[in-house]
Symmetry: D2
Amino acid sequence: MRIGVLTSGGDCPGLNAVIRSVVHRAVVDHGDEVIGFHDGWRGLLEGDHRPLDLEAVAGILATGGTILGSSRVRPEQLRDGVERARSHVAKLGLDAVIPIGGEGTLKAARLLSDAGLPIVGVPKTIDNDIASTDVTFGFDTAVGVATEALDRLKTTAESHQRVLIVEVMGRHTGWIALHSGMAAGAHAIVVPERPFCIDELTAVVGKRFAAGKRFAIVVAAEGAKPRPGSMAFETGGTDVYGHERFAGIARQLAVELERRLAKEARPVILGHVQRGGTPTAYDRVLATRFGWHAVEAAHSGAFGMMTALRGTRITLVPLAEAVERLKTVPHERYDEAGCVL
Amino acid sequence: MRIGVLTSGGDCPGLNAVIRSVVHRAVVDHGDEVIGFHDGWRGLLEGDHRPLDLEAVAGILATGGTILGSSRVRPEQLRDGVERARSHVAKLGLDAVIPIGGEGTLKAARLLSDAGLPIVGVPKTIDNDIASTDVTFGFDTAVGVATEALDRLKTTAESHQRVLIVEVMGRHTGWIALHSGMAAGAHAIVVPERPFCIDELTAVVGKRFAAGKRFAIVVAAEGAKPRPGSMAFETGGTDVYGHERFAGIARQLAVELERRLAKEARPVILGHVQRGGTPTAYDRVLATRFGWHAVEAAHSGAFGMMTALRGTRITLVPLAEAVERLKTVPHERYDEAGCVL
Amino acid sequence: MRIGVLTSGGDCPGLNAVIRSVVHRAVVDHGDEVIGFHDGWRGLLEGDHRPLDLEAVAGILATGGTILGSSRVRPEQLRDGVERARSHVAKLGLDAVIPIGGEGTLKAARLLSDAGLPIVGVPKTIDNDIASTDVTFGFDTAVGVATEALDRLKTTAESHQRVLIVEVMGRHTGWIALHSGMAAGAHAIVVPERPFCIDELTAVVGKRFAAGKRFAIVVAAEGAKPRPGSMAFETGGTDVYGHERFAGIARQLAVELERRLAKEARPVILGHVQRGGTPTAYDRVLATRFGWHAVEAAHSGAFGMMTALRGTRITLVPLAEAVERLKTVPHERYDEAGCVL
Amino acid sequence: MRIGVLTSGGDCPGLNAVIRSVVHRAVVDHGDEVIGFHDGWRGLLEGDHRPLDLEAVAGILATGGTILGSSRVRPEQLRDGVERARSHVAKLGLDAVIPIGGEGTLKAARLLSDAGLPIVGVPKTIDNDIASTDVTFGFDTAVGVATEALDRLKTTAESHQRVLIVEVMGRHTGWIALHSGMAAGAHAIVVPERPFCIDELTAVVGKRFAAGKRFAIVVAAEGAKPRPGSMAFETGGTDVYGHERFAGIARQLAVELERRLAKEARPVILGHVQRGGTPTAYDRVLATRFGWHAVEAAHSGAFGMMTALRGTRITLVPLAEAVERLKTVPHERYDEAGCVL
């Protein structure tokens, strides 16, 4: 069998672990040949690739980034490129293509699959917002990095008697905010799924100080927004890919809370550190399992499917199902956390 | 409601997070009173306890160990102590007792529950061998610590051109060995569930050197054993609690592999570092959820049950079911890993 | 002997280690009594304190923040408070006061010392800009946190084919920028001591891309500034304590470099994570030694002095000497780094 | 200029950072050519080498191990090989050879230098026992790894109410034991320089338990020994290179303390994890500076010298001086630590 692999979208710890696992399973166990496309879909559209043998993936299991490179492609570019993709797949004699990527990538994968190409998807997102899988690799690392930062920030907030508003990733969903906030014992968490009431947030933080506490930590997903009318709020607009730009919620909240509470409030934006660098053991294991099962799916002809974690097992789910909707944080998780506004 | 909590058995990152969560949920949300028994079952048998309010659990979320202390109690001690436990529960006016512990603790919990005491168990084990739950807190931390050590050991093994046999925890099951070995890219893994053939292990390692590689890493669960007759093997005997003492498999393997391969082979025993210190974000979140749900179970009268993770949800399972058998590594996981002997 | 301790100024990993060490040395070895003033100079000016015995400092060696609290006091407040400080020292029967703090604190310490109070200073600054000592505790931790972040950011910069401008602490000096930049292999470093030329920076980064590299990392101390006239530059003004507010150099550089290079450029502001949380082993050892020697200084009547590291030894230097000038990065260090503009 | 580099002796975090720095300084700034010998002295004796350009050292700054490989060579092998080394240096047209290594390597370097070869040494040892330099790279990483392990072990020791005897590296000197023990707040430290009295150690640990404490941590350098006659003690013999084999002091102490105190005592041997993996920021900076100055020394003809840290500066010291004696822990450091027996 000949298999093509590509990685697309933003950086995510575990991408290299998937690539390595695909090569190990395919080459060692099945005697397949594997090639890697450069820079995501661009590589497939232009036929830009290189062979991936065992040597090519030696030592990459624990590294961040992707040895294949990535790039963002606008949906319409790909729509127009189906025939080019098909012709490169044919020319290269590929029996399967394994794209590893997030929501946008999986939608593109579905498009190509619907057009008859032999696609097996591997979901990737640090945001954990892909439906049909319990979790994806990258999320655990992002939560770990954010939690470690929150652990450090607590002592500083306390020494300076401040409110710190810590902005973590999560454009559409509050998964990273919820988990890192719970793990670090944040006093309030605001998430995109549930526009918050600034009066309520002020009350929660104010009550802490009233009770003699010397600091408060608020975790804000970058996509969190106040309830309309609740406070002045500037949105961030949209970028060239149609993605909403983040609004700087932490900065806006710091100004507002400082004004309302008469306490020093400071924003901290964790930013890109959450998505780079070496993956946690959890993410390496999950990524490795995804890679292994993607190869198995290719061999059993399960195209149009995506690897997914369900409980302790890896299964296959239709790409169509996975991209239908975003996986938001369910309400019972807010209750468990206790501090989600 | 009045709730008693205790922690029993070996150290496990996340114990304090459960205690804190129980107190937060019970005291803040339900207006309950919570007391903590000292040193596990001993505290219950002797009525040795102290009140647990919010102040008592401040700042413990991220700390290792247990603020309540722990101790090992032989099963027969507890069997004889049912009436004493019952009288202390009555005297203290407890509506629920939440023991947090491993297999032995949960068996004891079941015993007390069968005797009519209002018990809700919380499973704890770094070994991940408790049935009826996908995973327990402590395991992710243990795997993380072992993986970080393996990452470091690789460069040393390579610089010294050696075989390193790294012994990780896992008396009866190979979960830590499997996950840390996969996460770190070990070249061979041996586990208790499947006695290994020393000839096969020698062949796997020998093939690496024959292919020009300069080192090999073997991960051995402490309970791993060679197939009978496969090589000379000294067992470790049993301790006073009836637990099998570990045999020093890494040390025995190092001697055997050095002899067979004429390559330097060295044992590394990771030991107690795997079970102490600050929990990972994953374990803190899971422990916090377990604590929350244990209080809910108490309030809904779901006694004789244990909190469990199934997929992404926390559920309750009968203690009887949980202690029936050990959760061993299923065969498909060996296939995925590729390097389990 | 009776000794008073206080911590003043911004958070700095190692403060608690000094406090613990002072108590251990004074109480255990000399039979002294130790009290701690709350919230820095405020505690001394108001006589707000508590006793510090062994129990009070148990378990704090590895914790960030300060158990005594801190606060910022304007120089003039302290100048007016000399007599109040003197009276509290007399009333409390103190034979020595050990303030632990940065440049501002040490200047205040000198003022009180000149007024005849028995002061032994302990220098503290994550910025490493206190003269007369090779290094202070807190710096190593800050550099470590920044380096770990840079390690992670590299893979993201590469995956996204971007220029990342990473802003690290260093209002007046480039020590953290220099060390973290060297440790992480940054491609350019800009520091406050040497206003940079934007054309030169553009050229350095441009050359990398011209050579086929896919990303670049620029480390900027928060106090770095362009050469006058070199590029448009907005300063940040000054705050209520007369400290210059940071200008957001990373943000301004990102805009400028993106415009000049036609490459995506993004700012990352590491912020407060650099100054909180558990200290590195290096900082814990240094802080412990400083505390020990401060007590010795008190016992030998070496007032008006400050503990300092010189080579491998702790010595005492006059406070007057230490606060005379800031310790900037010497020119030979720029040469060694190779990439400081 | 043509420069040869080699790494010799045990693994040490920072070796790759030196190699990279030598190449960067020599190739980029001086236009030199650099070659690397494989596997330490063996590569020089056999002329086994490869060119080292910028590409060859890309991405190695933060990696453990050595890209050149290492090996141990017996002193007499090298003594007999001077002429072979000289002929390879001549044949390859080398103007300088930079060996990076520990005491044994530097002795060999001195031998070759005395024989007229153009040698500039770079000291390397995690043990910190090389004289004439304040510290060497690798030590900070080793101390950091040991301290992190000790932090974790504390909670376990406390939960289990045990004495843990933690064996850290340090064959001839107690530097790692001293620094990690101080950093983690160990209760007793035993070092090779000062044979300990077992009665005294027993008393120190016993006093803790008598005072109601629940655990004790003893840090033992692997080369620590009891005072003759103080307790039964088995030595470890010597290996093929004439190095003393470690005796298993932690294991022997655990048996002895358990017997004397009637408390559970367990040995933990940290082993190789201390010498592998990514270097700390401190070690990366120091290693980078050493590499830079080694090239400068070569260009200024300062042969027979070794790079050294003195205070904050890198200087050159005669190899002859550096290998004259081991740098042991000075007595005042024992006093500062307070808990060294």
